[in-house]
């Protein structure tokens, strides 16, 4: 279950990389995106469909509930992380590395930290290197491509020929990006016909449209209707806005051939059509014309060789008009070396440029009057600001390249001419360890299955840490009045319970370290009351699972099968606390007088495979510090109290049958009995405890 029913908020040290979930005001993290994925408020398209902007979205209102978080630093952010370890990878070597880390405290708010801190669920684990791996350092390989709408797999050969979009009938709305459905254009229904099933199909002589059920956009707005409800992609490619059909390159070629065979004195009516065809070049045609023109030029140059004697030939070899450079450029764009004639390689020469539309010449149209008229017309007819008739940057960016568009200055700038967007394909990807190249994650290649062949996630190797503020009635001083809920008072000690849950089948020994005061602008004093402790092994899982299935819901038996948020449900009996036995959670308050506060050097509470300890912090006063240090007002999220913490875990594992792999951070203890070996893993993490109140 998710804490607070949403994804764990991710606040890398600095706020620039934070992605605001506008609906909750909490940060949301995911790889590969450095800018808000949600529509921005300045987007005119969204003015029509406004997002609810709540006070939580705006800065300076820390009303959104704060979810404490733990982010873990991947070792790839160390300088030369791999070379450092390669020569001698022993426990000593590692602890020396750790020593280095201790010397210069990790600053979670440093600019670099943005790139190395991850929530546990985003981290993988390489069993061979015995190290944490993050989305930044793993190597991804595409397992398959598929359309996110029709969920059909697309072979990679198609990607090369057709591009990375679905070529079936999957489209998104150009206005709001909602899915488009193929609908039959409703004709006045004939009740006799509609009910008889055999007429149902035959009477559909009409046409189909793509329509958006979110914003009601329809392809009729750009004058496009389809003859049949399937393979819309192919039909759309042949249709210009307005419904005019467009000749494909092949058809155009054939038509030209026909005309050539008919001779120059052909019918005047077809001549007229040819004129239009050639002056209004769309991108595909222009490219085709240019290509054939240059092909002819090349073969002419090679065939006759008469340009070779030109005195400017030596220089011409460098320009775009040189056959060699031309064929090189052409092969870049056509993806083949068909133009490249080996004989021509050494032959210098120049060629003339295209002079007519039939050769690919397209004169730029700099006349903007039609666009201006369109803007004025829009204002006069609708009474709305003409700006709203123009397409936003996001709308233009999401448009798929359309070969039928006129090039250069002909690109659309109005929402009224945006075309349906064929869905971009998605991928399933496997991940490799960057150092040893072993696969650490591999999904099943079938699109519809969600299973993994390999899934080495860090959560199965390193303890989860959950954070909860410790409030003992009677012991914790009452909070200041008028303090926003869930905030930490400055200049006063606050205590937090850190619960470590062990996922592995061996008990582990944990050693924690923090700097005495946190780095950064608003230093807080930090004390870990119990920096060394053990967590029992996670052995009873199957036993517990069986119990879980048999026990009735009202059973008070401790159980815990699979949770990731933290240790769960150990009944009153399974839970021990230093000092005094804690009464049941429900009745905690009644025995408050007998409760003891946390003691130095003692764990706070422990259960089957978890141990909790207490950390005490005294935050600085934000307001006073900001006044004094002259570094301006408190920036967004600077009020979040982040504690860097170094975690070292040690355990004894069954030694593998074969010799220790190079790169394994373990040593075979000589005096160890029966194939046990000592292992350890150390890493930095950052604890986001809460927001410090902006009081004096």
């Amino acid at each position: 279950m998710f804490g607070n029913n949403r994804l764990p908020a991710f606040h890398p040290g600095l706020t620039q990389s934070r992605i605001r979930d506008t609906t909750t005001g909490s940060g949301l993290w995911f790889p590969g995106l450095r800018s808000p994925p949600l529509p921005s408020e300045s987007d005119p398209a969204n003015d029509q469909l406004p997002l609810p902007i709540t006070p939580e979205d705006l800065y300076d209102t820390p009303m959104a509930p704060f979810n404490p978080y733990t982010y873990i630093r991947c070792p790839c952010s160390e300088l030369n992380p791999y070379t450092k370890r390669t020569p001698d990878v022993t426990a000593q070597g590692l602890s020396r590395a750790a020593q280095d880390d201790d010397d210069h405290t990790f600053d979670p708010r440093a600019a670099r930290s943005n790139y190395s801190l991850y929530p546990l669920e985003y981290l993988s684990f390489c069993e061979d290197c015995h190290q944490i791996r993050c989305p930044r350092c793993v190597a991804e390989e595409i397992v398959c491509y598929y359309c996110p709408n029709c969920l059909f797999e697309v072979p990679s050969s198609n990607i090369r020929s057709e591009g990375s979009r679905c070529t079936r009938s999957c489209f998104q709305c150009p206005i709001c990006i909602g899915p488009l459905a193929v609908n039959h254009v409703e004709t006045p229904p004939d009740p006799n016909q509609l009910l008889s099933p055999d007429h149902a199909s035959s009477s559909h002589s009409g046409s189909y449209v793509l329509s958006c059920s979110y914003c009601n956009w329809s392809s009729t707005e750009i004058g496009i209707k389809f003859d049949k409800p399937n393979s819309i992609h192919m039909q759309l490619a042949k249709l210009r806005n307005g419904g005019e059909t467009r000749l494909t390159a092949k058809e155009r070629k054939e038509r030209r051939k026909e005309q050539a065979s008919q001779g120059g004195g052909g019918g005047s009516s077809t001549g007229q059509g040819e004129e239009d065809l050639d002056t209004l070049l769309d991108m595909e045609t222009q490219f085709a014309n240019l290509k054939s023109f240059y092909q002819n030029q090349l073969s002419d140059a090679n065939g006759t060789g008469k340009v070779g004697g030109d005195p400017s030939a030596a220089l011409g070899n460098l320009g775009f008009d040189a056959p060699a450079s031309l064929s090189r450029i052409m092969s870049l764009y056509t993806g083949s070396s068909s133009l490249h004639d080996k004989k021509s390689k050494s032959r210098p020469g120049t060629m003339r440029e295209a002079l007519a539309p039939s050769e690919g010449l397209q004169l730029a149209s700099l006349d903007e009057s039609s666009a201006i008229t369109a803007l004025q017309d829009f204002e006069s007819t609708t009474g709305l600001d003409a700006y709203s008739s123009t397409a936003s940057t996001t709308q233009l960016q999401s448009q798929a390249p359309y070969l039928g568009a006129s090039p250069l200055h002909g690109l659309t700038r109005f929402t009224s001419s945006l075309r349906p967007i064929p869905y971009l394909l998605r991928t399933k990807r496997s991940k490799r360890c960057p150092q040893c190249r072993h696969i650490i994650s591999k999904p099943e290649s079938k699109v519809t299955t969600t299973r993994f062949r390999i899934r080495l996630i860090a959560g199965n190797y390193i303890p989860t840490i959950t954070i909860k503020q410790l409030i003992i009635p009677g012991l914790t001083p009452p909070p200041m009045p008028n303090l926003p809920p869930d905030t930490i008072e400055p200049l006063k000690p606050a205590q937090f319970v850190l619960t470590f849950k062990n996922p592995i089948f061996e008990s582990v020994r944990v050693t924690l370290a923090t700097p005495a005061t946190t780095p950064g602008r608003f230093p807080a004093k930090v004390t870990i009351l119990c920096p060394q402790f053990e967590i029992d092994s996670n052995t009873d899982v199957w036993e517990e699972a069986l119990k879980d299935n048999n026990a009735t819901s009202s059973s008070s038996q401790a159980q815990n099968l699979s949770s990731s948020t933290g240790p769960e449900g150990s009944g009153p009996g399974g839970r021990k606390r230093a000092g005094t036995l804690r009464p049941g959670t429900a009745g905690g308050a009644s025995l408050a007088g007998e409760e003891l506060g946390p003691e130095v050097g003692k764990v706070w509470e422990r259960g089957r495979n978890w141990t909790s300890i207490v950390i005490e912090v005294i935050p600085a006063s934000l307001v006073q510090t900001a006044k004094r240090d002259g570094r301006g007002p408190i920036k967004e999220d600077e009020d979040v109290l982040e504690i860097p913490m170094f975690v070292r875990i040690e355990w004894e594992a069954e030694a593998p049958e074969d010799e220790i792999m190079p790169g394994l951070s373990s040593t075979k203890g000589g005096n160890k009995d029966g194939g046990k070996e000592k292992r350890e893993l150390a890493y930095w993490c950052v604890l986001g405890l809460g927001r410090v109140a902006r009081t004096l």
């Binding site: 790889p31 998605r426 969600t450």
Partner: protein, 197 residues
């Protein structure tokens, strides 16, 4: 043992469903619960909106049931959410179609679901609208306040947000365990278990 305290907040069925007495289930004969599902107070399930046209291939062996809403195991329907079968014109006649939820589906408070199908391990936040005939596959997270347009298909491992909703991220490999709702199931009912320390 003395008689149980007068009526708890929930009715607990033999299959482990916990249905709040204050939930509104209309047309219960058309609502299927897989077991161990929690239905909180003020939830509304419109089982009465069953299809009016029999399924096309009912002759080919399928049981001629008329389920309007089918819910799998370990689903959690939060306070104030509404499950409503989608409806459309079919051969000139308006009919409702069944709404199916898989296992471990969390539906947040105040959310309206009119999907055709929600897969397994799906987390739908609060105040979300899932439009008619939307299809949500397994391991999908819909963030609070999203409006999923009608007919939208959301593939597995997607994080979805916005109005209209779009895919804004992927569920990481390590994030799939968090969809498990067994523990949440135990924290509600007439004898709720304490949550994590």
């Amino acid at each position: 043992m003395s008689r149980r305290p007068p009526r708890g907040e929930y009715i607990e069925t033999d299959t482990g469903n916990k249905v709040a007495r204050k939930a509104t289930l209309v047309g219960t004969q058309n609502i299927m619960l897989g077991g161990k599902t929690v239905i909180q107070p003020d939830v509304m399930i419109r089982g009465d909106l069953a299809r009016t046209i029999p399924p096309a291939q009912s002759a080919s062996g399928g049981p001629a049931n008329n389920t309007a809403v089918a819910i799998g195991r370990y689903c959690f329907l939060s306070r104030g959410c509404c499950l409503r079968p989608p409806g459309r014109m079919y051969k000139g006649v308006f009919t409702f179609m069944p709404l199916r939820l898989g296992d471990h589906v969390f539906v947040g408070p105040g959310t309206v679901v009119q999907a055709a199908q929600i897969g397994n391990h799906v987390h739908i936040g609060g105040k979300v609208v899932i439009g008619e005939f939307a299809i949500i596959k397994d391991y999908v997270k819909v963030l609070d306040g999203s409006v999923v347009p009608p007919n939208m298909v959301i593939p597995s491992f997607s994080i979805v947000a916005g109005q209209p909703a779009r895919i804004i991220g992927e569920i990481p490999e390590g994030g799939i365990e968090a969809f498990e709702l067994r523990d949440l199931y135990k924290t509600v009912g007439n004898n709720p278990q304490p949550t994590a320390p």
